[in-house]
Amino acid sequence: MKPLYLAKKLSLVLAIQASLSSYAMAAQTAVDAEQNANNNAAPNNVNNAANTANSSAANDETASAQQTTQDRYIEKMQIIGRSQALNKASGSATLINELALERFKFDDINRVLYSIPGVNIREEDGYGLRPNIGFRGATPERSKKINIMEDGVLIGPAPYSAASAYYFPMTNKMTAIEVFKGPAGIKYGPNTVAGSLNMVTRQVPQVSEGFIDVATGSDGYAKAHGYYGTTINNLGILVEGVHLRAEGFKDLDGGGDTGFEKSDIMTKLRYDLDGEFVDQVFELKLAYAKETSNETYLGLTDEDFSANPNRRYVSSQLDNMDWTHSQFQFNHYISNDDFEVITRVYRNNFDRAWYKINGFKGGAVNRSLQDVLANPNADETNQRFYHILTGEQDSVEEYEKLILGNNDRSYYSQGIQSDLNLNLAFFGFTNQVEAGVRFHQDQIERNHTTDSYVMQNAALVSTGADTLATTTDREKTDAISVYLKDTISIDALDITAGVRGEFIDAKYQNRAAGAQGDYLDKSTRIWLPSLSLFYSLSDHGGLLFGVHEGFLPTSPKQNPLIDTESSVNYEFGGRYNQDDFNIEVIGFFNDISNLKEGCQFSSCGSDNDIEFNGGEVDLYGVELTSDYRFVLNDDIDLPIALSYTYTQSEFKTSFESGFDMWGNVSAGDQLPYLPNHQVSLTFGLTAQTWDINMAIRFVDEMLEASGDGVVLSGVTTKALTVVDMSASYDFDQYGLVYVKADNIFDNQQIVSRRPYGARPSKPQQWQLGYQYRF
């Protein structure tokens, strides 16, 4: 199969996009005619608001029309619609809106997502700087098995070529977080095994609007966040900036900052063009972000963790992550009552360098840091290495030198995508057709080097040896994706059938001198079908069923002998919404024919990027979510929300694996880092001028490794219960004061022992903040 040349691909994509638009226009005309004939008999979910706009005053009509376009555009930027009384979404879809995000004012996406069922998380640094998120049992490592999107566009540094999400957007600037699993995910690729996470940034306001939020807290925490936006005539602008910093909650032996600084600035320009037949929106988004964090992969021995979970060994004193991210996105939105097309052009650049301890130089004596910290007293070797890591003894022998690696990587991700929503009537039924096409390119260039140090008088001292290049390569992907979904309503039954196609051309090239012959060109083509049913039992409740094929591509460098991950995922459940009460229960079963995992520093402590086949695995569970708002009196409400997830997993075959999280697996073994039970309970009191909220979450114990024969075999993290609190008082025109505490009872546990040693959850952290809106 010959790969298409870039120019041809672009032509193809543009042609398809043009076809989508012209087809939409033509189809709209046809629908208009049919609707006229049927006296507007067919309502639809997209244009409910438009159909009800019936003002007699011309100026009101204009304003209303503009507002409608705005609403629909905003909804389009989000994936989950908000206008339906009964959410008939095919598959599990959860929206956390701005109000909910404001309640706890979390900076950490992990804490936001804990309230969503079916989300499994492996915490790492406590601040959520580099989250590990999985859905329905998918490995959470660097969130590489889910699609992470911002405003509907893939936002991972190189989602096809290097799926690990070392860049993650700032949670503070998001106005909505959406999670969807099951067949709903077929619209969003390339990873369809688990689901997608879409984060929605603030929209350009229709009227002048500004906001300032400043906060200070324990461990040197500080936050400054603000935005201003307005629309004059049809032209709108928004500028938003966020700065976060903390000195860190860890105590570095010998002193030193273990915190971070993180900044993000975003601007949007928007132009609304309303016409006789169609309305259009043009929007340009530009953003720049940077982070410097003194973060490390080095944890503690269990014994040291018990003494002080926040200790950090001196051998991590030079560890530092430094990245910058720039973003360009242009959206064009065109719609009328029966169709909408949004086209997005995007480019993201991400440059990062993480300088951190990799391990001992080794040679005659070799031990991984994970082994040393898991068994510091196993023998003289581990004892000696442990004492060097902690600075209690100096390096003497060659193999006792410490290697610090600078994993310097440059990424880009760019593309153009169009999504069409169309309402058609044929066979006498209303059809909601969704179709899309995307041409996407991404690339990672690795320029990894290492330096040699000795531990001397409890400090790292350079040996003066030359910096060595370790990995110098490039992985690049060109991918065309298409999807088509149609939802037809037959009486109380909504049937959605869909299919996604991924056509991936991947290239790996070793860029080291003399290694031109080390390359791999690989093409993968796949069609992924989905089917979902929603049966409305009443105006308030219904049953859903879904099945879709899950897929996870391999990286360009991976040997073609390594299979892609594939699965057939089923879900069945019910949903009931009435007034202030919502409940949803969904059972899922993922029949994985080949589970695939790979090694990164964050998991294995090495970046050889080798991937492993795990064979057949069954993953199943139940997700429950429910919320209700009790009205206590005229002024005070008591909202309460519960989320529960039960997950079980099982390898179906026995095998010996070189993957550090698996080891020698016996059929029946469970997946690592997958808690059987997770519960999140949120409740509070809300009044006109004040509120107080509590969030309690429980995460069951988790296996650190599935099978035998690896360092962390048989080791688990302990179950963890954390309580977060927030409260605010609104002084009306003088602003709002809030106080919050994450982990109010200061309950810290080991969240994982990877890649090297035990790492703590975030301790108690207080914040006092002030918000002013204008």
């Binding site: 130089k361 196993a378 003289e380 006792e400 037809i488 080390d518 060109d521 690989k522 796949i526």
Partner: protein, 417 residues
């Protein structure tokens, strides 16, 4: 009804697509040097050399006899140490003369040297059970370069007392540097019976004991350590040569259910062992005392950093390593890597490596003094030895692996060197 038929058909089509896996297809083009693990070749050789026969020969005619002979040496070592200890106790009870005791002591030391020569051959054949669990079995027999003389002193007393903090003493549970061949070198060849502990923990009552009492305590522990070495040597043979042993797995490489996907992968395991000569012999045993690598003297010449300073056996160890390398490379009288190279039309490399190994063996054989003494008296001689060994490893790292499409072990890969 017609519509329902249409949708029923659609459902059936989608169900069929789901069941069929939807026609995923992958095609690829590999570069000539592509390898998923990052080495410079892809495991493909040009000749039809019988690699399975190579494995069988090296396993059956080189490695298995080497392991077996070490086990036999360990039996003799235990026997000689027992005899010596009996003599030491007899001397204290005046039932044995000083000469008889000295003779027994001398024989015990010689048996250690004999066992060490054989062990140094085993060292070059670290495959399978000797590598598992961070070299756990190998370290139990010989933990060098990790050593703990104070640990040995402490265990001498613990063994004598029969318990550690109330728990019965069990040498099999003790850490590697407190036992094995390294402990025996200290117990037999140390010039003094004073303990080596410099920090707060010292062997209880040691300083107040008589010389004779110390020697008896040490020899009794040495007997226990020798017994433990024998137990571990037997374990090595059992894990290597049993029905489910690693030797059998190697010989079945490439067969259905084998942990080695191809026969070539099995050959690669054998070739990995050759690189002991790079990491240990060249770097740790020569470059380190020469000060080319960091050592306990900093980065200067350091006689204290030789492998067996107390027994003055370091150059013998190196010689034994080189002889074992030759056996492993040439396959003794049968098929070896040299034959493989010749079959791959690289007779020049085959010959170059043989000549380089022979030159290094000749060089190491020519020492008239210990390695530590040579470092003091004739540093150039040691520098030459290092260069001779490096000539071997340079060939192994380049022409050898390229011609035979083998992968370098991680510890010898260029960037990590």
């Amino acid at each position: 009804m017609q519509y329902r038929t249409v949708y029923t058909s659609a459902l059936l089509v989608i169900s069929a697509l789901l069941g069929a896996g939807c026609g995923e297809s992958t095609s690829s083009t590999k570069g000539p040097n592509y390898d998923s693990n990052g080495s410079d070749n892809n495991g493909e050789t040009s000749s039809d050399f019988d690699q399975r026969a190579l494995i069988s020969n090296i396993v059956d005619d080189v490695i298995t006899p080497t392991f077996t002979q070490f086990e036999e040496k360990s039996v003799q070592l235990h026997s000689q140490l027992t005899a010596y200890c009996t003599a030491e106790q007899g001397l204290a009870q005046n039932s044995v003369t000083q000469d008889e005791r000295d003779q027994a002591f001398s024989q015990a030391k010689q048996s250690w040297r004999d066992a060490m020569v054989q062990w140094q051959r085993v060292e070059v054949m670290q495959i399978g059970p000797l590598l598992n669990n961070d070299n756990a079995l190998r370290n139990k027999i010989y933990s060098w370069p990790v050593k703990s003389r104070c640990g040995v002193d402490l265990d001498v007393v613990s063994f004598e007392q029969g318990n550690i903090n109330g728990v019965a003493y069990d040498i099999s549970l003790r850490t590697p540097a407190r036992k094995g061949m390294l402990a025996l070198e200290y117990l037999l060849f140390s010039e003094t019976t004073a303990h080596s502990c410099t920090e707060s923990t010292v062997p209880q009552g040691w300083d107040n004991r008589t010389e004779s009492s110390r020697l008896i305590a040490r020899c009794e522990f040495a007997v226990e350590a020798a017994k433990d070495i024998n137990v571990n040597a037997q374990s090595l043979i059992s894990q290597w040569d049993g029905e489910q042993g690693y030797a059998q797995k190697l010989k079945q490489a490439g067969e259905q259910g084998s942990e080695f996907t191809t026969v070539h992968d099995g050959v690669n395991k054998l070739s990995d062992a050759l690189f002991y000569i790079d990491v240990f012999t060249k770097d740790s045993k020569l470059a380190t005392p020469l000060g080319l690598f960091a050592n306990s003297c900093g980065t200067s010449v350091c006689p204290e950093s030789v492998e067996s300073p107390l027994a003055a056996h370091s150059i013998d160890n190196i010689l034994s390593n080189l002889q074992a390398l030759k056996a492993l490379y040439e396959g003794e009288q049968g098929l070896g890597f040299d034959d493989f190279l010749v079959d791959e039309n690289d007779a020049i490399t085959a010959q170059n490596i043989t000549q380089a190994i022979d030159a290094a063996i000749a060089n190491a054989s020519a020492y008239q003094v210990s390695l530590a003494q040579a470092l003091l008296d004739n540093e150039q001689q040691v520098i030459t030895t290092h260069a001779e060994v490096k000539a071997v490893t340079d060939q192994l790292k380049s022409d050898f692996i390229n011609s035979l499409a083998l992968e370098l072990p991680q510890t010898s890969a260029g960037d990590n060197d």
